[in-house]
């Protein structure tokens, strides 16, 4: 418990540092949002007026603390490009991207844990089913190599165009129909999940294989444990922490995947917004999203550490 609190404090401090960096980075890089909005032919007076309206004429630090206040109040500032508060712009999109990643992660675990453990079970027993093992290795290798972008296109082609299970590009908002929304999101989530599931399967199998070479496994066999008992009682508890840590990593990697997959499936998520906001130099939106993503990454890491520590008393940080 004390450990969890310490983690939380570290997390908050780091988050402030990230927010400062995110803010400073955009005040340093070239590109003037006022010029971008009014065009290069705008008069200097008009530009100055717009900059003042955007608050860009004041010092960086005044702006930072002002922005910080708005971030914490939840409004997250005003979008330059859309003229509404960032919260309004980002709110639903974060829910969409969040649920896309959540579904992707659940699918990853749902596929990888049984396949990995059953696949590893073959290596634990004497009756190693060689052809099946070979097929599993081949499939995971191919799956890992396929980028979600391509997988998304393949899924769209197979399930959308050929089998007509869903209608491509006909995104259903969760505000209209939760069922329709979840059904539409099934396919993009699968595009994200499959390569990650393949990676997790590989990690499980190689961890099990490494673990089986250890002496305590031989002891366990000599005490009368059958192959199943060796796997479930001895090996799996020992690989739980590294596998969990890796799975958490795949959740973080899904951030970038979701940006790509949102484009392929025409999903109005935070990833697409981020790409367009960077193009439009809409700093308040970009800054807010950077902070949200950073917070997400840090929370995932912190939760993983706390859970891993709960599982494994040996870990001392």
């Amino acid at each position: 418990m004390r450990y969890a609190i310490r983690k939380l404090v570290t997390l908050i401090v780091t988050l402030f540092a990230v927010s400062l960096l995110a803010f400073l980075a955009f005040s340093v890089i070239p590109g003037d949002p006022a010029v971008l909005q009014l065009g290069v032919n705008a008069t200097p007076e008009a530009l100055d007026a717009l900059r003042a309206e955007m608050g860009l004429d004041r010092s960086v630090f005044v702006r930072y603390f002002e922005w910080l206040g708005e971030m914490m109040s939840g409004e997250m500032g005003q979008s330059f490009a859309h003229g509404v508060s960032v919260r309004e712009l980002v709110g639903d999109r974060l829910i969409i991207t969040g649920s896309l990643m959540g579904m992707g992660f659940l699918m990853t675990l749902g596929i990888a844990l049984p396949v990995g453990v059953l696949g590893a079970g073959g290596t634990a027993g004497r009756c190693e089913h060689r052809p099946l093992q070979g097929i599993l290795t081949g499939v995971t290798q191919v799956m890992m190599a396929v980028p979600p972008l391509f997988l998304g296109l393949v899924l769209t082609f197979v399930f959308g165009v050929t089998l007509r299970v869903f209608t491509p590009s006909a995104f259903v908002s969760f505000r209209e129909s939760i069922g329709g929304y979840l059904f539409y999101m099934l396919f993009p989530a699968l595009a994200i999940a499959l390569p990650k599931a393949a990676m997790v399967v590989r990690v499980i199998r190689s961890s099990v294989r490494d673990e089986l070479r250890k002496d305590y496994v031989q002891t366990a066999v000599s005490r009368g444990n059958g192959p199943r008992a060796v796997l479930y009682r001895h090996v799996l508890p020992n690989i739980a922490v590294p596998v969990l840590t890796f799975a958490a990593l795949t959740l973080i990697m899904m951030i970038t995947d979701s940006i790509v997959v949102e484009q392929v499936f025409s999903i109005p998520g935070a990833g697409r917004l981020l790409v367009s906001a960077i193009g439009a130099r809409d700093y308040p939106v970009v800054q807010a999203l950077v902070v949200v993503i950073a917070a997400f990454v840090m929370v995932v890491h912190a939760v993983t550490d706390v859970v891993a520590r709960g599982i494994d008393r040996r870990i001392v940080f």
């Binding site: 002496d215 002891t219 366990a220 005490r223 009368g224 444990n225 008992a229 001895h234 040996r314």
Partner: protein, 241 residues
Amino acid sequence: MSRAILEVENLNAFYRDGRTRRQVLHGVRFELMEGEILGLVGESGSGKSTLARVILGLEPDYTGTVVHHTERPQMVFQDPGGSLNPRMTVRRTVEEPLIIAGGYSRAERAEMVREMLGLVGLDERYLERLPAALSGGQRQRVSIAAALIRRPQFVIADEPVSALDATVQAQVLDLLWDLHRQLGLSYLLISHDLAVVEEMCGRVMIMQGGRIVEAGTVEEVFDAPEHAYTKQLLRASRGSC
């Protein structure tokens, strides 16, 4: 009077090294008598551990016969660090053979674990510890406790003390000796340390290149070695004279 509890006849064992099948044991035969401590001496790679593994049924690729006249033998391994599951507490490790066997209530198991730990010189404070929180000697005691909890008649100890400090070695050997006396245990004691074998064993077998080259009582073999390899081993351990 005493009867054999293990009979090994014409045992050949093989080891798969990539595509080649290498023979690591050649026509091994011996008997282990009830209440006996039989030493098995040889350098590393001579096939000692393979022999132990075949007897335990951990090695599937062999020809010949291995006849047990007792229940499955238990094993004490060399490295007390690696041979214990790092995520199992002392209690779980020692209790596990009882759980596998089945038929013991929780209370019975707890009582047997407590008693067994007492026998190897550990008390209840150690019950909830993980191997990482134990010294090498304590781990080997836990390992011995787990091997003995089902009261086997026959224990194979593969270099049980060679990974331990000299003083701890003596303690663990004393423990094995006491348990032999108290419980009437038979051991197959595998060691490269002739002094250990001389102290503990009644009979000894010398192994070289997967063959037993000489066997007999410790006095016979150590005082009047016949095989050149035995003489060489003795010279090496006693220093040149």
